[in-house]
């Protein structure tokens, strides 16, 4: 049995996991909070990308737009991390043995890295984002890519409930 499967079996016997399994309303409630936080994060990323393209928030600089949405983006991601962890504890095999889950984690890591890189660049040369950078093709590609990566993470997150869509590809985790 693969290590991840043994870990999932062990985790599902721990007291926090047993508690989450006992009360049937807990997992859907945590999922609902997770979805609300996704809304906050996606909207913040969308507005930042639209600002980089000069489509929305044009009367604010990129830095000011980030000052508006950055804290919501960070706060939303923290809520997603906490509710996500709770969902893993609540249903360990469902999450940890799903190919969609691991693909999603990969995209979340890439998305978080792209957001971190954007923020570092904004701190170092904030003013340039309002002139050259916003018209730079590569920057725009990265901006759209960031939005698409987070959207794909949302899609893969929902597909965790239907991991059979991957057919035999997801079998290795269960073994």
């Amino acid at each position: 049995m693969p290590l991840v499967n043994r870990f999932a079996q062990w985790l599902s016997q721990t007291p926090p996991s047993r508690m989450l399994q006992t009360y049937e309303w807990m997992v859907p409630t945590i999922q609902s909070v997770h979805i609300v936080a996704i809304g906050v994060v996606l909207a913040a990323v969308l507005m930042l990308v639209l600002r980089i393209f000069g489509v929305a928030w044009r009367d604010h600089s990129v830095a000011d737009t980030h000052a508006r949405f950055g804290p919501w983006l960070t706060g939303g991601l923290v809520v997603l991390l906490l509710t996500g962890l709770a969902m893993i504890v609540g249903e360990p095999p469902r999450e940890l043995l799903a190919l969609s889950f691991w693909l999603k984690m990969l995209l979340v890591a890439v998305g978080a890295g792209l957001v971190a890189a954007f923020r570092r660049s904004l701190r170092r040369h904030g003013a340039r984002w309002d002139t050259a950078a916003a018209h730079d093709g590569r920057t725009r590609v990265l901006a759209v890519l960031t939005l698409l990566v987070w959207c794909a993470a949302v899609v893969l997150g929902r597909l965790i409930a239907y991991d059979y869509v991957w057919g035999s590809w997801s079998a290795g985790l269960k073994g």
């Binding site: 859907p28 969308l46 639209l50 409930a161």
Partner: protein, 185 residues
Amino acid sequence: MDAAALLATLEASAPAVAIRNSLVLFPLIESFHVLGLTLVFGTIAILDLRLLGLASTRRSFTAVASDVLPWTWAAFALTVATGVLMFVTNATTYYPNPYFQAKVLLLALSGVNMTVFELTARRTVREWDRDPSAPPAGRIVAVVSLVVWISVIVLGRWVGFTSARATAPTDPGVDFDAIEELLPK
């Protein structure tokens, strides 16, 4: 045609049959439903928080609205289209579900709420456009909007947990009973 016959007709329609017979269509449609509804809620919330004077207060309401609403409507179109497809696939299962019925009622209420806004605060927007927050009618609409949309999300999740799909996809290579036990929605 009574409701039961209509539901049966919907469930027998070509798109419904195609979705039921596919392993991947329903999961994909549901995934894009989630993508759409999160964007609807996230963008609407930007506008509601502006009305309440809690965010984006350095911009006029109309500037925020014109930046946000086209994306809200685009996301809403995606959410409705995918929602309709999910409904026709399992119409007889969803229709009597009390959580589904409550969700539809709240969606109608959000439409009423939007109409109330158009008939009240929106009419005098020139007077308060640059104020940090909207007049009372606008702030009430914003609170109702936030409560309604969060409730719609919660009810939607409960619909998923309380309605088994009318017809599970059939594929001899997949043990669906084992999957059902392993993967609650």
